[in-house]
Assembly symmetry: C2
Homo-oligomer: 297 residues x 2
């Protein structure tokens, strides 16, 4: 729809971090979270055409307020496509490119990057990343990482997303655990012990296809207890991800937006590659980001 002066989010609004499988709704007043709820109504659980009803239900529960949506809700499998803003992109670039559904409901765009012919995209992470810097949780010139199924590595310059790389580290682990010849060995849990650290060291070789087969061979030759295989493979994948990214970076620290478990694993790998790791609270970063975008719109 055509953007008009009537369109505003303001200081009292509902924010929804609406991902593929989960979403979290926040009621925000003057920059403070008054109420927050998480559920499993991710965009995959919402039929095409059912988004207006979903949003009405949220307003019934949280209040009849302006609403700012971020994440996969703005993708082709979401409510309405919010086209990517190309990097370099800052908070104001996102606020100016909001995709308005109606006069008080807007979707935050994702960010795209094309560097040396290599494309990359993010959708949802940009709010947390820019929010972290805006709130002083990370420096304005820094390397940030958001581990997960698809790990985002973001080069922040002057508080804007200058460029980024996504590694499908978590997805590779899930795929190996579920569907590879290694699956019977990978049933164990991942712990940040010696096997994980050995994987991180081998990950520096950045030779996944061979080191993964080595996991099978290690079992055949009794070189490693199968109970340690999952930790080793996790270390291998995270280690090669970290090694590849740090080889290309001049920063001596990584600022991590992660849950404590994954954060601890990435911290080990980052330190094993000679850099410092700092943890950032993801929820605080999201709120900081969405509050600023709301105020700018």
């Amino acid at each position: 729809m055509v953007v008009s002066d009537a369109m505003r989010i303001g200081e009292r609004f509902l924010a929804v971090d609406w991902g593929t499988t989960n979403r979290r709704v926040y009621l925000i007043e003057d920059g403070v979270v008054i109420r927050s709820e998480r559920d499993d109504r991710g965009v995959k659980a919402v039929a095409a055409g059912a988004f207006p009803a979903e949003v009405a239900t949220i307003r019934d529960s949280f209040g009849d307020l302006p609403m700012l949506l971020a994440g996969m809700v703005g993708s082709t499998i979401g409510w309405q496509v919010a086209p990517y803003v190309p990097a370099p992109a800052g908070m104001m670039d996102l606020a100016c490119a909001l995709s308005w559904v109606d006069e008080r409901t807007a979707i935050v765009p994702g960010v795209s990057s094309v560097q040396g012919g290599r494309g990359d995209v993010m959708r949802g992470e940009e709010v947390q990343l820019l929010g972290a810097v805006a709130a002083g949780l990370a420096p304005p010139n820094a390397l940030l990482a958001q581990p997960g199924t698809h790990c985002k590595w973001v080069s922040m310059e002057d508080g804007r997303i200058a460029g980024f790389t996504t590694a499908m580290t978590g997805e590779l682990f899930a795929m190996l655990r579920g569907h590879s010849i290694l699956a019977p060995q990978l049933g164990g849990s991942v712990s940040p012990g010696d096997a994980f650290r050995e994987g991180v060291e081998h990950g520096k070789r950045r030779d996944l296809a061979a080191d993964l087969f080595g996991v099978r061979a290690a079992a055949m030759l009794n070189l490693r207890d199968d109970a340690d295989a999952a930790s080793y493979v996790s270390g291998l994948l995270i280690g090669s991800d970290v090694a590849a990214r740090l080889a290309d970076s001049r920063h001596d620290a990584v600022h991590l937006l992660a849950d404590p478990v994954l954060g601890a694993l990435y911290t080990i790998a980052i330190e094993a590659n000679g850099r410092e790791a700092f943890a950032i609270d993801s929820h605080a970063a999201f709120v900081a980001g969405i509050v600023r975008i709301g105020a700018m719109s």
Copy 2:
């Protein structure tokens, strides 16, 4: 069973290249293949305990002769375990370590390697690899590769397997095609064109987790036609495999045991990494190998 002088294979025998999903039976007389048949009775298709009946059926069809079996038939999912011979290993090492089932039926052992704490195993490939060198199809000091689900890279020294590395290159491709977020993009066929070559170039970065996500981003940003995605990903995987192996090798050529399609793809990647590739006939290599092991036993 205890090895005795009565145990012999000799000059007229049946050889079976018995893999996981397929097998090929050869009737060999004085080093020449008289008859050969391939079927899908791989070890996975044979119930535990049913191997004696399978072998009896083969003898009914091909002649009541001594029999030499190679491949997964000697593994834990096969008939009888033929323990690995540690590298360095030559033809005589295999012949001396045959696992006899009865006085005229033996299984060729696989080969293991442990280098710098990294273990590796092969079972079945050793006959072709040593056979290729013994028949003069490859030099006695050379780098050989046998691409496939699990690609074997073998350093041959003085005609013996000095060490080797297995990369699960083909399995990663199948897994990505079947189970990853990229699956919908990877339905096309792989051809040795520009997209494959671009993948090979990017594969030199040895940064699979990021370059694979780039395939998805390329689709979102219309940077590459999805029809080319399978070729690009194949190039990426084969390219990183080849680049990793050649970085560690002093040889200026690779001798390839592969079918023509996969051989052509690996040849492109090997040449893109500045080395020469030579094709070897896999069947001729197997026959050369098994004939010599038979004669030595």
